[in-house]
Symmetry: C2
């Protein structure tokens, strides 16, 4: 068995074509939950959901989230109603006030948003996933159990695990003027405000008390692959749990850099790395991952690292790219495993 | 101003054609909330919603609930996922366990259902209403305020008020064998089990501490019309609040009987009246409404009552029916007002 740590779109893009190298039935994916939100009372787990839809062959693969061909009747009506009632602020996120952030369901803490004028586009079939998940929690299941039931529902061969059954919320502390809330939930900063304003630092609220599940700790005894995910908000929430990072020191770990030298493939990794005091580059990734045993870097990435490196073309745009990168990961694993 | 008390479909059917007699801008509707449910975490207010959709000219007028021409992508996907995950029990209601009924949001008490294998058909645009309402509660609004904002969103000229901002849950106590839950929420009994099994009695849980809002008490100082709604589960939850029934004794009240003699027009009023110890008939309705000052009865209903009666054809099936009944209500109001 091989365990992949997944957040954002980088690792799913690798998984999407890696089945011939890492058969799904022999892989576990541990999904980041730091960027989950409770939107209108429903738990949306973007990083888990991408893997569910990918393996169900339902994923919208232009944008790498949501369901291909989904309708958006509810979302459009939410927008219309908000406008008609004078409640719209242009689709900006409506983060609930501080007191309400910790009311009710503990798993929702620090990430509760109103669905009035819904700020994320949730498709109609996509929404059924969030409703089912939330109702499974209501019925008394843990998030791990709910995810396992959903994996059955979507016919996954893979084992899919949330990183924890406890709440961890990625909060982006921003450089704000007077009166501005000093932080934004990651989704608010990323989806709602398109990565504005500039970041001071990222907090993983809850991580000091959250623990990885037993299932995750067991999965971390297998060789571990970190795909080209953003080290701060995709992998950072996992590492923020002490037991998680400790486990990675005890197992072979191969990392695919999300950078080519200092150029990032996609997403907000550059700003986030800088805010956390890391160089936004492959060298910075290596600093952020002291437990990594080997790296897969792009052919044109000549970063000099103190650990084994396998070079290949690490782009993940065309058919065949993922298989090539997966083979490089396998080579790297043979070096360190 | 005139105030209508509305539950189920009887009173909405009267309102649907009464605008020429009772202009919407001069009417208040107080909606029953005893049959509301929190389904998958969203507050569904069937009796309020029917009035919202009616006045918005969006109501599906074959079945008198939901949105005409609505899609059901989310609902069908909820059903599919439940089946695939082995969680389906044929669309039967999934009432949360007793401990969870009173966890979290107080307004949800005793009416919390899972949306796994969603037992009520919620259309996609319909769902946007429940999501907006619930998020308005999350944002700190009362149900009265949320309803008022929704009335704006749907362009209502009418004033629409929930009977209370407190939870009242209509629980149908059933004649069950060993191991059977001794009660079912009204929606479970009515929608989920098609009015089976037989009823022992109906409890309005919460009514002893719930109070009508100030807005409702003010509306009850205007002349009041009870359309042909079911006295037990449509009007009963209102009357179960002492201050509500007291207010009706102080104001002119006209009742349109939902029966013709002992024949009910529609719905489960017969079984419910019997369970509550009333004769299932116009005479029983008069017993249930000691505060009523006059009645509108069908031409063929020769029930002898101790209060003034106006006769007309009380059927509400065709265009023109509602206006005819509304005119009879106005005549009755003139007798007692």
């Amino acid at each position: 068995m091989t365990t992949f740590l997944a957040g954002g779109t980088g690792t799913p893009k690798l998984l999407a074509g890696a089945d011939g190298v890492f058969p799904p039935g022999e892989t576990t994916v541990v999904g980041n939950t730091g960027d989950d939100v409770f939107l209108g009372g429903h738990l949306v787990c973007p990083d888990i959901d991408t893997v569910l839809f990918l393996d169900a062959e339902m994923l919208e693969r232009e944008r790498w989230w949501g369901v291909a061909g989904d309708t958006d009747e509810t979302h459009r009506e939410l927008t219309r109603l908000a406008r008609k009632a004078g409640l719209s602020n242009g689709g900006a996120p409506r983060y609930l006030d501080e007191r309400r952030q910790t009311e009710g369901r503990p798993l929702a803490a620090w990430r509760r948003f109103s669905a009035v004028d819904e700020f994320m586009l949730i498709g109609d079939r996509d929404r059924a996933l969030h409703l089912t998940r939330t109702s499974l929690l209501d019925e008394g299941h843990t998030l791990t159990e709910a995810t396992d039931l959903l994996a059955d529902a979507y016919d996954l061969e893979r084992t899919l695990l949330p990183m924890s059954d406890d709440p961890v919320a990625s909060l982006v502390h921003v450089e704000g003027g007077p009166g501005r809330q000093p932080f934004q939930h990651f989704q608010e900063w990323w989806v709602g405000h398109r990565a504005e304003p500039p970041i001071d630092h990222v907090e993983f609220r809850g991580a000091e008390t959250a623990v990885p599940t037993d299932e995750v700790l067991t999965a971390l005894t297998d060789p571990v692959v970190l795909g080209p995910s953003n080290p701060v908000t995709s992998i950072g929430p996992m590492l923020a749990m002490d037991a998680f990072e400790s486990a990675l020191h005890e197992t072979p770990v191969v990392v695919v850099s999300p950078f080519v030298g200092s150029e990032v493939y996609s997403g907000p990794a550059t700003e986030l790395m800088e805010a956390m005091g890391y160089e936004p580059s492959t060298a910075g990734v290596a600093d952020a991952y002291p437990f990594a045993d080997a790296f897969v870097l792009d052919r044109s990435d000549d970063t000099d690292l103190d650990r084994p490196v396998i070079h290949t073309d690490t782009s993940l745009d065309e058919d065949g790219d993922a298989e090539r990168v997966a083979l490089a990961v396998k080579d790297a694993m043979e070096v360190v495993g």
